[in-house]
Symmetry: C2
Subunit: 447 residues, 2 copies
C-alpha cells in the first residue's frame, strides 16, 4: 500500500503501554479506595466545556495553553485544563440537589498545550478530592489523614506532610503594615530555597519597599526551626495581636494535635509545621499542605492542597468554602520508579498456562476457569507452539508461575508447577477440583 | 458580581454526579478485574491524535462527527472517536517491543459530534479487550468466556451470547455465485427483523439481482431454528462444498463445544448459534458475537465483538489478525436501572458517624480510623450540628449504618448502632479496640 500512514503520537503526548499502565492503575485504584473509605464520592464532568467556563479561570498561562476550537454547532469550546474549574461549575449548577457537605473525588485527564521542553506532557491525569460547603477544621484534618493513608497504602517509604496556614503570613503582614504588598512579599519569599535569605532580602527591599526590621520578621517566620510546638510558639509571638494570625496558629495547633492523636505512633512524626510553604498566591486562604518523600524530597510535593473560602464565585452568588488536595500521580510514579519501589511487570495475571497438548484445549480451558474462580489471573497461550517459546514469552511478560501439563501429566493427574522467578519446578497431584494445585500456586504467589 | 457566568454543560455532554458515577465505577472495576483474570493488560493512548491517523479510518459518518482543530503548533489534530483506531496505531508502532500475542484492554472516553436527537451523547466510554497476533480459535473462545464471566459478575440476570461466523454467509454467497453482491446482500439481510422475509426478498431481488432460489437459500440460512447442533447441521448443508463456509461451521461447532464444556451446567444454555447476526460490513472476518439480556432483549447487544484478519493495515505491512469485544457500558447501565438491578446510593461509604459532642473530635476521628483499618468506609460529619439534621443528611445519601456517640456513650464506653434501612438501634459495648463495635457493624452490612 502506497498510502500507508506513519503511526506516531502527537508531540507532547504519549502512549501508556502495559508496563506503565499497570502501576498507574494500581495507584489510581488505591486512591479511589482510600478516598471512598472517607466517604468521598466519585464524579465526572465532560472533557469539553463552553469556552467561557474555562477562559480566565486559571492563570494567563493556562489561558494560553487551552485547547480551544468550535464544535459542530459553532460553539466556542475548550478542553478542561484542570478539575477545579469543572468542579466549581458542577457544584454551582447542582449544589441544591447535592446538599452540603459535598465530598467528591475526581480522577481524570486534563489537557494543556504546555512547552514540552520542560519534560511536561500535554495530557495528564489529576486525582483530586475536596470537601465543599463546610468551614469545619474536621475537613482540613481529614485532608491530611487521607494523604497519610494514601501514601501509606502506596508503600512509598517515609514521607513528611508539611502544613502551614495562610493566616500566619497575612497576620504578620497586617502587623507590619505590609498587607497591600502581600503579592510581592509572597513572590519573594517563595524564592527562599532558591536564592537564599540575602537574595530575598534584596528583593523585599526593592519590590515591596520593606524596611530592615520588616524583612527580619518576615525571614524569621519563614525560617523557624525546632519541634512543631516550638515553631508554633515562635510563630505565635510573631503574629500576636493579629486575629487572622492568631487564628492561623490555633488552627495549625489543633490540626497537628488531631492528626498526631489519630495516627499510629510510628506515623506521628510525619506531620511538620512548615512556615515557608505558600502554594500559589490567590486561591488558598487557610491551611495549606505539601507532602515530600523522605528518600527523594528534591522531586517536590507528591500530594498538595489546602483550604479556600470560595470555590465558585464566578458561577454563583452562593458562598462555597472548601478544602481539598490532589495526588501528583505522574510525579509519584516517577519517584517510585527511581526508588526501585515499582515491580516491572507487563501482565496483570500471575499464572501462565502453556498450550502444550493441542488435542486437549478444553481441559486447559477448564483448569484456567477453576483457577480464575479462585481469584487467580491466568493467561492461556493461544497457540500450541514449542514449550520453550511459550516460556520465553512468559518470562518476558513477567508471569510468576507456569503450569505445565502435557499428555503424561493429564494421564497421571499431575501438573508441573514452575516458579518463574526461581526456575524451580515441583510436581503436584491435581486432586479433586484442582484444590491441591490451587494451594500450591497460591503458596508461590504469597512467597 | 455583574460578570457572573451561567454554569452549564455543552449540548450533547453530561455530568456524572455520584449516583450515576458509583455504579459506573463498579462496572468499570468489574470489567477491569475480569479482563485481568484472563491476562489482558491495560493500555492508554492520547485523547488527541494526528488528524491523518483518525480521518478515513471509520465511516463517512465518523469523519463528519470528528472533533478536529489545530493544536498550538499548527498541527491538524482530532479527538479519538473510538479505541480501535488508536489500538491499530499503537500496535503498528510498538508490536516489535510488545510481542505477540498481545492482549490488551482499554477503558476510556471517545468523542463524536453526533446528532443528539437520538438520545446519544457526544462523549462516551468504551471498554474494549482484544487479543492481537494470533489466529488461534482459543482467543475467540476466550472472548466468549470473558463476556460470560463479566456479565455473571455484574449480576445482570439471564443473558444470551449469540455467535455467528462470517464464513457462513460468505460461503453460501460463493456457492450461489453472489460473492460480488456481498455488501448489498448483507445490507438487506440485516433488515430481516425490521422489514420481514418478504421485504428482504424484494430488496434482494432489486438491489442484488438475486433469483428466487438464491433468495430462498439466503433466507433459510438467516432463519434457522432449533438446537445449536440442529442449526449447525442445517447450516452445514447449505454451505457444503465451500471451504470458507465449511470452516465457519467447524469453528462455530468447536467454539460452542468448548464454551459449553468450560461453563458451569446452568450457564451452558447461554450460548446460541445465531445465523442472522452480521455486525458491520467490512471489519469482521470470522466469529462474531452479540449479547442480549433475557429480561430486556429489545435494548440490543450489551457486549459485542468478533474476529478480524488485519487490524492495522493502514499503518503497517505486518499482518495483525485479532479478536476482541467491547462492553456497552452506557446501554448496560440503562438496562440495569430499568430492571431495578442498581442500588440507588450517593455515597461509596457505608457507615455514617455524626459529630455529636463537639469537644471530642479526636475520639471520633480515632474511632473512624479504626473502622477504616477494618475496611469499612466511614464518613465523619464535619460540623457538630443537631443530630436530626445529620441523620437526615445520612438518609439522603444512602448510608447503611449510623454510629451515635454522645457524652453519655463516651463515658459508658458504649455506642448506639443504628441500622438506617430498618431504623432499628442497638447499644453495643465498644470493648478493646472497638472489636465488638466493628463486629456489630459488619453484621448489619452483611445482612
Amino acid at each position: 500500500m502506497s498510502d500507508r500512514i506513519t503511526p506516531r503520537t502527537l508531540k507532547g503526548f504519549r502512549d501508556y503501554p502495559p508496563a506503565m499502565m499497570i502501576p498507574r492503575e494500581w495507584i489510581i485504584e488505591t486512591a479511589r479506595r482510600v478516598y471512598r473509605l472517607y466517604g468521598f464520592s466519585p464524579i465526572d464532568t465532560p472533557a469539553l466545556e463552553h469556552l467561557e467556563i474555562l477562559i480566565g479561570k486559571g492563570s494567563d498561562e493556562t489561558d494560553k495553553q487551552l485547547y480551544r476550537f468550535e464544535d459542530h454547532g459553532g460553539r466556542p469550546v475548550g478542553m478542561r485544563f484542570d478539575l477545579t474549574v469543572p468542579l466549581a461549575r458542577f457544584v454551582a449548577q447542582n449544589i441544591q440537589d447535592l446538599g452540603t457537605p459535598f465530598k467528591r473525588y475526581h480522577i481524570a485527564n486534563v489537557w494543556r498545550g504546555e512547552n514540552t521542553q520542560r519534560g511536561r506532557y500535554r495530557e495528564f491525569m489529576q486525582c483530586d478530592f475536596d470537601t465543599i460547603g463546610t468551614t469545619s477544621l474536621s475537613a482540613d484534618i481529614e485532608m491530611v489523614l487521607v494523604i497519610n493513608d494514601l501514601l501509606t497504602a502506596l508503600d512509598v517509604g517515609g514521607f513528611t506532610i508539611h502544613v502551614n496556614h495562610r493566616g500566619l503570613l497575612n497576620g504578620l503582614l497586617e502587623k507590619l503594615g505590609l498587607a497591600d504588598q502581600a503579592t510581592a512579599v509572597l513572590r519573594s519569599l517563595d524564592k527562599l530555597a532558591k536564592i537564599g535569605a540575602e537574595g530575598v532580602s534584596k528583593e523585599l527591599r526593592s519590590a515591596a519597599s520593606a524596611t530592615d526590621s520588616q524583612i527580619e520578621q518576615l525571614l524569621k517566620l519563614s525560617s523557624l526551626e525546632g519541634s512543631n510546638d516550638e515553631m508554633l510558639a515562635e510563630a505565635e509571638k510573631l503574629v500576636i495581636g493579629s486575629p487572622v494570625g492568631e487564628r492561623g496558629v490555633a488552627q495549625l495547633r489543633e490540626l497537628i494535635g488531631s492528626v498526631t492523636t489519630t495516627l499510629s505512633s510510628e506515623a506521628m512524626g510525619r506531620i511538620r509545621f512548615a512556615p515557608s510553604i505558600c502554594r500559589g498566591l490567590d486561591y488558598y486562604t487557610g491551611i495549606v499542605v505539601e507532602t515530600t518523600l523522605d528518600d527523594l524530597p528534591e522531586i517536590g510535593s507528591v500530594a498538595s492542597g489546602g483550604r479556600y473560602d470560595n470555590l465558585a464565585n464566578l458561577f454563583t452568588s452562593q458562598e462555597l468554602p472548601g478544602v481539598g488536595a490532589s495526588l501528583g500521580l505522574d510525579r509519584l510514579l516517577a519517584a517510585l520508579e527511581e526508588l526501585g519501589r515499582l515491580e516491572q511487570v507487563h501482565t496483570p495475571a500471575e499464572v501462565f498456562l502453556p498450550f502444550f497438548d493441542s488435542d486437549r484445549r478444553n481441559e486447559y480451558l477448564s483448569l484456567a476457569a477453576r483457577l480464575r474462580a479462585a481469584g487467580m489471573g491466568v493467561e492461556f497461550f493461544p497457540d500450541a507452539k514449542k514449550l520453550g517459546k511459550q516460556l520465553q514469552y512468559a518470562n518476558r511478560r513477567g508471569f510468576r508461575v507456569a503450569l505445565i501439563l502435557g499428555n503424561d501429566e493429564f494421564t497421571s493427574g499431575e501438573c508441573q508447577v514452575k516458579n518463574l522467578a526461581t526456575g524451580e519446578s515441583q510436581t503436584v497431584a491435581r486432586g479433586d477440583d484442582d484444590a491441591n494445585l490451587i494451594a500450591a500456586v497460591r503458596c508461590i504467589l504469597q512467597s
